[in-house]
């Protein structure tokens, strides 16, 4: 993916429709990112491509908009005391290594099975990761919502891992935990590999931080922003080196997404802990559904099935539609909860 770009890049002309579309998708994606630490990026790449942007430019521009957004979100949430910078930076560096491994894996699959095989592999990873992790997070969120007593901090697994004294042990003050580096590295590598494959590392990074490392969902989602910043900056430097970043697209998306990311970060101070898990799980599960609709296209290309051209293009469009729906659902839940909690707090303050 990060290979040299040999073909002459085509940069599109912008019109009012595409500007508005990018701004809105940016805003909604930013809102979700500010809240759950990542997300939004998976809609932007296909979204830009549907506007006629070549794939490479779409991926590069998406990457380039991701890290400033993550930076702004991380700073905002740092002010609320939710970010563990040390954890984020260490994870970020290893995640960047994970990205490079992910690219190598992708490349070898591309050589062996061709473009369609590679696409199928991406969809397969999409569905498997999102369904398993998403349903696990969802189950946990529902359990947390129902439980009335004091919430147990960290999973049994995280507590067990934290007790294993394996050099080098690292203490994280904000996340309030002490764990061996050997358990951080696999989570970070997996985050990076997923980011290289489906463009959203956070779908492994945040649950990994919560269930394996043992951070709370607020700290996990905030720290993921630091990881995304490190990964995004590294990726952008490589893409920009090959000149594939369309800065105009990046700036339009950023114009929207920075509004969103601020609002998403503000939202985290109002909601209960399980809400972040809930929103994340909802988005992951709906996106997983969207990928089911993308699979027939690749199966057709591999000559496993022979569906008609029109039904395949319809499926592709449905797939994109469902992805947008996932993002919109997440954004709606965040906004509704934010404004509900806000008016409630105001009422309490006015009374007392």
């Amino acid at each position: 993916m990060h290979g040299p770009v040999t073909e002459v890049l085509q940069f599109i002309d912008l019109n009012a429709y595409s500007v508005l579309f990018l701004f809105l998708v940016g805003f909604i994606g930013g809102l979700v990112s500010g809240f759950i630490g990542s997300g939004g990026a998976f809609v932007l790449t296909p979204g830009m491509m549907s506007l006629g942007v070549p794939g490479t430019v779409a991926v590069a521009s998406n990457m380039c908009h991701k890290f400033p957004k993550a930076l702004v979100g991380a700073i905002k949430r740092f002010k609320y005391g939710q970010v563990d910078i040390k954890l984020g930076l260490i994870m970020g560096v290893f995640a960047e290594i994970g990205v490079q491994i992910g690219i190598m894996v992708q490349r070898s699959i591309l050589e062996k099975f061709g473009q369609a095989g590679s696409n199928l592999y991406v969809s397969f990873i999409f569905v498997v990761v999102l369904v398993t992790v998403g349903s696990f997070v969802m189950r946990d969120a529902i359990k947390m919502k129902k439980s009335t007593g004091p919430v147990k901090v960290g999973t049994a697994l995280a507590r067990r891992l934290q007790q294993i004294e394996l050099w080098p042990m690292i203490t994280f003050k904000t996340a309030n935990l002490r764990i061996s580096m050997w358990f951080l590295v696999p989570v970070a590598l997996a985050t990076g590999m997923l980011a290289a494959t489906i463009a959203v590392g956070g779908f492994i990074g945040v649950p990994g931080l919560m269930y394996i490392i043992g951070a709370t969902s607020i700290v996990a989602s905030a720290t993921e922003l630091v990881i995304a910043f490190v990964m995004g900056l590294g990726g952008t430097l490589i893409w920009a080196y090959y000149g594939s970043v369309d800065i105009r697209l990046v700036m339009i998306i950023l114009a929207g997404s920075l509004f969103g990311v601020q609002l998403g970060a503000i939202g985290t101070t109002y909601v209960k802990d399980y809400m972040i898990k809930y929103v994340m799980a909802v988005i992951m599960l709906i996106v997983a559904v969207s990928r089911f609709f993308a699979i027939p296209k690749y199966l057709n290309e591999l000559h496993v099935t022979s569906l008609s051209e029109t039904s395949v293009s319809l499926m592709t469009r449905i797939s994109f539609g469902v992805m947008c729906f996932a993002l919109l659902t997440g954004a709606t839940i965040i906004l509704v909860n934010l404004f509900k909690a806000r008016s409630l707090e105001r009422a309490v303050l006015a009374r007392g």
């Binding site: 702004v72 901090v153 309030n176 969902s217 952008t236 105009r248 920075l258 101070t269």
Partner: protein
Amino acid sequence: MQTDNLPESIQRKTPFILVVTRNGHMSEPVMDYAVNVAERMHCSILAAHINTLPFYRDGGRRSNLFTTAMQESAAMFEAKAAAKGVGVEHASDSGKIGKAVKRLCHPGGRRIEFVVVDQGIKLDEVTAQSPVPVFTVNSPKYKAGLQRKTSHSHFFQKGVHRMSTATRKRHVQNTFIFGGLTAALYAAVFTSQEAVMTYFTKGGIYAALPVALVFAVSYFHGNFTSSFWSALGIESSKTTATRTAEIRVEKPVTAPARKDTRPRAEVNA
């Protein structure tokens, strides 16, 4: 210091306890302690508010807030002292804490028995210059820290300016300043699209251009969006803003020690 040569009237005057703060609002434990001791020792109190940043470059905003806070604080101190029949005088000064204390302890003026300093003042600064003993008040109930400065705002009616409160007006100002800068940046890029696209996609060392530009965007536009929502009144939750999710509490092995909540002095003469 030739105190012997001073007129008798000055020497016989009631002694004072000097209470010094550099915060707009003096903290309550310090006031309580001073009033208690003054009552016991038949002293009066000289409450001094020292503005240590008189030339802070914000168009006098800090100084104005400081004065308002000082008036609130003075009113509260007087109420506390009047309840115990202790006299309070107020002084305001600006400059370095040590020098201000030295000026206030000047032998020509009131007779200062000792100095009590509020939170936020470094003891060394005062002890280096003070001719009389200096005490700090150590209160377990109120840990030193910025958040405690305005702890007695409930004492006064709502809507009074507080030192740590950024006003809505300021957010609106920032919205326009950063909004303008952001608009200028976007206008500059989009009016010269062709040149920008030629250079920014050259690759190689030119990769620094798009990265630098998005950093600039994230600064200007990030500040703009932040103050935009604040100006609209959409800010973080007041009740949970300082909460960093659930905080792990380790169970103590021994029984917890009983807390002594009385304010008490530490000698540092």
